[in-house]
């Protein structure tokens, strides 16, 4: 497979970036998208040029490290997969592929295709946890009865890997799907009730302070999320937030 790549190159956060064209050949359909970029980087290194910087880690769709806006969609044209799980068979010989970083004011570019997603960490730090006494007399979580439906929904919300595809896909660069998943995984469980009011207020406040946009319910985040996080979580967060605001 021969391809033309239009890749965003930017030397650091303060520099102005631009799309640079690269021709690449000998790409197999069974390669992952990141392996294709590895081939490109080997070519660049052999030619004495600087390789393209991009985020990656587990390459199994678990860690949430890989990103990339591929032909205008986060993680590319496939559904329910991350970029590391995207196969080159999804493209055709002779295709031109646009590869850009996830774009949001709250995700500044570090270099080339790598972005700083620590704003997500700060939202988590604001309230995405429960306080449990671990001195030795902690109650066994399995001893607390939880409705199967609630446990399932909490587990679904907890599958969010925090990759940022929701922000990248949203026309407003909103982080509501991510934040709502992190709020929901606790809001649905009895262990999360103690800090429920403070949690949702603090996490939404942090989300707003980071400079993410407002949700306008386009639903793009849900479609592009590699873990299929549902919009129901955003509705739940809205309810939790309104309830907490009335209390607080």
């Amino acid at each position: 497979m021969n391809l033309t790549l239009k890749i965003w190159r930017q030397s650091d956060a303060d520099s102005k970036g631009k799309l640079v064209d690269y021709k690449i050949s000998g790409i197999e359909g069974d390669m992952s998208f990141l392996e294709m970029l590895d081939v490109l980087n080997e070519d660049l290194i052999n030619k004495g040029e600087e390789p393209v910087v991009f985020d990656h880690d587990c390459r199994e769709g678990i860690c949430g490290a890989c990103s990339l806006q591929i032909n205008g969609e986060p993680h590319g044209p496939d559904r329910l997969v991350t970029t590391c799980q995207l196969h080159m068979r999804k493209f055709n010989n002779g295709d031109t592929i646009y590869i850009e970083p996830f774009r949001a004011k709250a995700f500044p570019v570090v270099k080339d295709l790598m972005v700083d997603r620590s704003s997500f960490e700060r939202i988590q730090h604001a309230g995405g946890y429960i306080s449990v006494n671990t001195s030795g007399n902690t109650q066994d979580a399995n001893a607390i009865p939880i409705r199967k439906e609630d446990a399932d929904e909490a587990m679904d919300a907890a599958t969010c890997i925090g990759c940022g595809a929701c922000v990248a896909a949203c026309k407003n660069a909103s982080a509501m799907l991510f934040t709502s998943a992190k709020v929901s995984q606790f809001a649905l469980l009895p262990q999360g009730q103690v800090e429920a009011t403070e949690r949702v207020l603090a996490m939404v406040n942090q989300m707003d302070e980071e400079g993410f946009g407002n949700c306008t319910n386009t639903g793009a985040c849900e479609i592009e999320c590699p873990k299929g996080i549902s919009l129901e979580n955003i509705a739940r967060m809205n309810r939790e937030y309104l309830k907490a605001s009335m209390k607080g």
């Binding site: 239009k6 965003w8 970036g17 799309l19 806006q69 032909n71 205008g72 969609e73 044209p77 646009y98 850009e100 774009r103 949001a104 004011k105 709250a106 896909a169 026309k171 407003n172 660069a173 909103s174 509501m176 207020l201 939404v204 406040n205 989300m207 707003d208 400079g211 993410f212 946009g213 407002n214 949700c215 306008t216 319910n217 386009t218 639903g219 793009a220 479609i223 592009e224 919009l231 129901e232 955003i234 509705a235 739940r236 967060m237 809205n238 309810r239 937030y241 309104l242 605001s245 009335m246 607080g248």
Partner: protein
């Protein structure tokens, strides 16, 4: 409560509630207008009531104007904030792959509706205010239908009204159903509520277009 005013969720809920209020008003406006194509007397009676009842004139009308102004001012504010949230645009953005045109272009359908409201106020609301509160003209309970017919004589104006209602349908198609999600309503009844909202988004604007065309072509 203080943080509520500044929060993105509060703004979202406020947009939804003001939108739902305007949807309710639209239904009421449509019901009255619809009578004009089958009963002139009923239309005149209802219009006279709405135009002279003190509760409608001095309590509900200001609330309506506030609702309209709030909805479009907040819409502009949110649009500017959202544009600022992504300073560098994508070279290639495939919005159509994951969302509807209507959901991505609410600001543009809203701007057309706003322009239409300007024309609509110029046609009906301003002359009504001048008639009642500037000229203090004697009240004539039968004048409303004649005034309505006069406005729909022009094919250009009738066409502009019809075009505006198409954009109203596009706006409602996303906005009405979306407002349920914004206020936190997402449960087993959501599918039925969304179907109702989508049907409303088609039936009411098409109904307004039918009324405009009937008034234009039958007189």
């Amino acid at each position: 409560m203080g943080g509520l005013i500044k929060s993105s969720i509060a703004r979202k809920v406020a947009m939804a509630l003001s939108g739902l209020f305007l949807v309710f008003f639209l239904l009421q406006h449509f019901t009255i207008n619809f009578t004009s194509i089958f009963s002139v007397d009923t239309f005149n009676e209802l219009s006279h009531f709405m135009g002279t009842n003190p509760l409608v004139q001095f309590a509900l009308q200001p609330v309506l104007i506030f609702g309209v102004v709030f909805h479009f001012v907040m819409g502009f504010v949110l649009e500017i904030k959202n544009k600022n949230a992504r300073a560098v645009k994508y070279a290639k953005y495939s919005g159509g792959a994951n969302s509807s045109w209507m959901s991505r272009n609410m600001i543009y359908s809203g701007l057309v509706i706003l322009a239409f409201l300007g024309l609509h106020f110029y046609d009906f609301w301003v002359p009504e205010i001048v008639h009642k509160y500037v000229e203090f003209a004697p009240e004539d309970p039968t004048r409303y239908y004649t005034e309505l017919l006069h406005k729909f004589e022009s094919p250009i104006r009738t066409g502009l009204y019809a075009l505006s209602f198409v954009f109203l349908a596009l706006h409602l198609w996303h906005g009405f159903a979306s407002s349920f999600q914004s206020v936190g309503f997402n449960n087993k009844y959501s599918i039925a509520a969304t179907k109702f909202a989508k049907a409303f988004a088609i039936v009411i604007p098409v109904g307004f277009i039918v009324i405009a065309l009937v008034l234009h072509f039958t007189h």
